[in-house]
Amino acid sequence: MNKQEADTRPLSPHLTIYRPQNTSILSILHRLTGIGLMVPSMAMVAWVLTIPMGPKYFELMVYFFSTNFGKFLLALSLWGIIYHTLTGIRHLVWDLGRGIDLKWVNLSSWFIIIVSILLSSLIIFFLESL
């Protein structure tokens, strides 16, 4: 390939100056929450492991999740699970060949953003009130 040819080849979007669209943001967040949910899945295994290990370790786990950092992790995980599940369902709908038009995609994007935040705050509020 000569130099001129290389110069005229199309460029992929430059992420730093690319205008964010809710479709791209939600797609990236789906992947990020997917990777991030690794942490609560492992925490869940650790939590279950403390039960056969005895009450001492179990209480330690409970203590960790009663600290501010633990609570923050729990809240973030709850939102992550809800968000990833909702966008996951949307992906399954797309796989069936439905809802691919822009109007539905935009509408469902906002629905997912609002519902995931609302539902997770509602749950966190309920847990805090216990």
């Binding site: 690794m38 295994v45 279950v48 749950i123």
Partner: protein, 126 residues
Amino acid sequence: MKKLSFFINALFNGDHQKGTDHWLGQRITSVAMLPFVALFFIFFLMNYGSGYEEVKNYFLNPIINSLTILFFILIFLHLKQGLEVVIEDYISEKLTREIFLKANTVLCSCMGLLGVLALLSIYFIS
């Protein structure tokens, strides 16, 4: 029968070179997990703040114990499948990619196995 083995192959086949199988496997685990996620939220909200004995008795229930085992298997299968796609997307160097893929398989299998063993030991030992 042939169809069944095709689906099973899609679920457990570690060969990430076979795109369609991998894609199908991920759909299977995600659809299968949907009811478990709903159940998880219900039980999580019902039992948040329970003490040691309560939680232990909870997992001594065979239905809840086995459902949780299934959930763990699905979670870590799905995690493995998802991370495989991420690794394949971002790591282009062949050897590094293979190492990451193998490490991912080992890590996810170990975590899943650990969770299942813990649940079984609650039920059978304590």
